[in-house]
Amino acid sequence: MTETVIHPAIDNRPAAFTQAEIGWTPWLQPLSEDDLTDRHWAGLVDASRSKSPYFMLLARDPEILEARTKTDKDIFYNTKAGLPRAERELSAAAASRFNGCIFCASVHSRFASHHSKRTGDVQRLLDDGTDADLGSRRWNAVTKVSVALTETPSTFGETDIEHLRSEGLDDLEIADVIHGAAFFNWANRLMLSLGEPTPAA
């Protein structure tokens, strides 16, 4: 039997980029806690994620969810050397702004502001887009190369590596920018296509 999607009824759908804590609702039926086997719990990685409709939808294929989540955590939260947290979040926010993921951009612009205390610079990325002057050559460089990598086909190349080096990034920091922007090309496509943002509570 053919299954059917969910058409959520949402008042005041978010239609602009924001740093506010907006929500997300799925277009396909997530699993319920009663459906979960050990395999699904392993896929969720953190048991608390069973409260998230996004992760409970992705838990339908638990092996890829588990590997995705562990990749995500290491790229953004492994702070052993490498790029400062704020700039990892900036690479994520820039990719999300460029692809047009209002939900992802809200989360990662908020995190970039939190770690940098540069809320105004981050807001300019949201309001004016990825060509905006974000207040420092280094932030402009991280944003520009994240966009080059996000384009399809990607236009990222050796000149982007040189650009980051001219702003003082070492090779691990450059790899962190690459992984931060690349990961959000994964996340944006799931968030944009399996559901939609809901207004801040």
Binding site: V5, I64, R68, A81, F156, I161, D170, D171, L172, N185
Partner: protein, 208 residues
């Protein structure tokens, strides 16, 4: 005989053991291991579930072909198996589908001024005959995800369900397309770093 699959990103970006990019990757062992586990979960799954192995590789060759990542496309096309007419049909759909993204419409409102129109891909009639309705629907959705993800909709998912994919299969297909958008970019980025030659690595001296 099946050999353990070597690290696919190293293979595709031609990262040699002991090279400086290899050492940079070694600083993030969980990222490296789980990018590989992601590949294995999608392309060598313990259970095929609702998407067959061949279907997975066909979608992957299409997605990486749309990205213009020729070596990556070849890698996934090699996983399809020896159906020459199917591979020829797939190549022809890739050629027809190639464009530049991201583009598409935003929800109507303040972002409408940033709307960027672009093509909506449909598989050709000869392609449909060879690939079938179900796979054709998957490729059309993959094209949407690759180039105009901001235009995704419940209707686009319903088209997949109507073509015979289950809800769980739609999750797997979405993960395949989205993961490859990541993998292709890591390969592109690390290959560029490798080509640029070794710079500095502060952590090697500062962190240990």
């Amino acid at each position: 005989m099946t050999l353990p699959t070597a690290d696919v990103i190293d293979h595709l970006a031609d990262i040699r053991p002991g090279s400086f990019v290899d050492r940079v990757r070694a600083e993030r062992p969980e990222t490296r291991a789980n990018a590989q586990k992601s590949y294995l979960a999608l392309f060598e799954p313990a259970q095929e579930g609702d998407v067959s192995r061949t279907e997975r590789f066909i979608v992957a060759a299409f997605v990486t072909g749309l990205h213009g990542a020729d070596a990556v496309e070849e890698f996934y096309a090699a996983g399809i198996g020896g159906n020459a007419s199917l591979i020829a049909a797939l190549k022809s759909e890739i050629e027809a589908g190639r464009t530049s993204g991201p583009y598409g419409k935003y929800p109507s409102g303040p972002l409408s001024s940033e709307d960027k129109p672009g093509p909506v891909f449909t598989v050709s009639d000869p392609g449909q005959k060879i690939l079938g309705h179900k796979l054709s629907a998957a490729l059309e959705h993959a094209h949407l995800l690759v180039y105009r993800p901001r235009e995704a909709s419940p209707e686009a998912l319903q088209a997949l369900l109507n073509a015979g994919w289950t809800t769980t299969a739609v999750v797997t297909l979405s993960q395949i397309v989205a993961f490859l958008a990541f993998q292709v970019r890591v390969v592109t980025g690390l290959a560029a770093l490798s080509a640029a030659g070794e710079g500095t690595l502060a952590s090697a001296t500062a962190a240990e």
